[in-house]
Symmetry: C2
């Protein structure tokens, strides 16, 4: 299932997770994957192509894991909570995932191709959240607005959980997410 290309992409993601994007070099990726520089160059012509492929890779992985987790959701409301906790980096979501997308996001501010992938993913995420809101809380008048606010909240929480674990431990992030979801029905 996992070819040599995916192995390289996993190596890159692992490097980003613990040394940041600045720690990524063709040589480091090759080392981590246990192959030569030439092998990396064979599968991806440039570093940029490797980076873009890695972004698509983490997106694909995320969608797969999401689908699996949501298969156990009893209702749209339950699915919304599962997705929210996952995105917020609350219990169950590894810090590494947040660090990776945070690194990509920062790079997106400077690289148009990376920005395009980021925009596509986040737009898709907002649509998905909006659908869950519309299905789980049909009385809401602006599910798209609710989804956009929720997505922003979750992004901010994820960063806080990853960078400030003592100010924002996962349990607090979970409480805040639940409070916001409760506001969906009340407010």
């Amino acid at each position: 299932m996992a070819g040599p290309s995916e192995h390289l992409l996993d190596a890159l993601v692992a490097i980003v997770a613990d040394r940041g994007l600045e720690g990524v070099s063709i040589r480091q990726v090759a080392d981590r994957a246990g192959v030569s520089i030439g092998a990396v160059q064979h599968h991806f012509p440039t570093k940029n192509a490797l980076l873009l492929a890695a972004m698509e890779h983490v997106s694909t992985r995320f969608r797969a894991e999401l689908q699996q987790r949501l298969s156990a959701a009893p209702s749209p409301g339950g699915a919304l909570r599962i997705l929210a906790l996952l995105l917020a980096g609350a219990d169950g979501a590894p810090r590494a995932s947040t660090v990776v997308w945070l690194s990509f996001a920062a790079h997106a501010a400077v690289d148009e191709q990376v920005a395009e992938v980021h925009r596509r993913e986040w737009a898709s995420l907002e649509r998905f959240l909006a659908d869950l809101v519309a299905a789980g809380a049909p009385h809401r008048t602006d599910p798209a607005g609710d989804a956009a606010a929720l997505l922003a909240l979750l992004d901010g929480l994820a960063v806080a959980v990853a960078l400030e674990p003592q100010r924002m431990p996962p349990a607090r992030a979970e409480r805040l997410v639940d409070a916001w979801l409760a506001g969906l029905d009340a407010g």
Copy 2:
């Protein structure tokens, strides 16, 4: 008022704003500031020291601008809205500021010294927001929780405004902020 050191820090911040942290090198900073490599080394012994000083520099600048903007606030509620719109990158806040702190945040995930400065600033921000909430909406039972949620929302909105201007134009961010603030009184 602005000595040669501040000039170097401004140069670094300008580089981060339009090429990211990866565009920062001693040589680039020296070039942008119109001095030699040696001058940079004279004021800051290492690149890391320069980076840390730049973070403190943007913090100081931010506090100064904030204090100036808040001096025109009629009430705690008004001050809260001004600060929220500023942090969210809504109309009036430049994209560059968001890109700079986003870059620093991503770097904080990998550099403990940068992380410490980041934590200090964000903790201070949450406290300040909590005070404004407590003053402007005294009936709230958990102003610290409100502040933490608001701060996360604003961080997420700022990133969205900076990276996805068509999904999250400043006006939409402003509407979402206002909706959240309205929920302070209702929910």
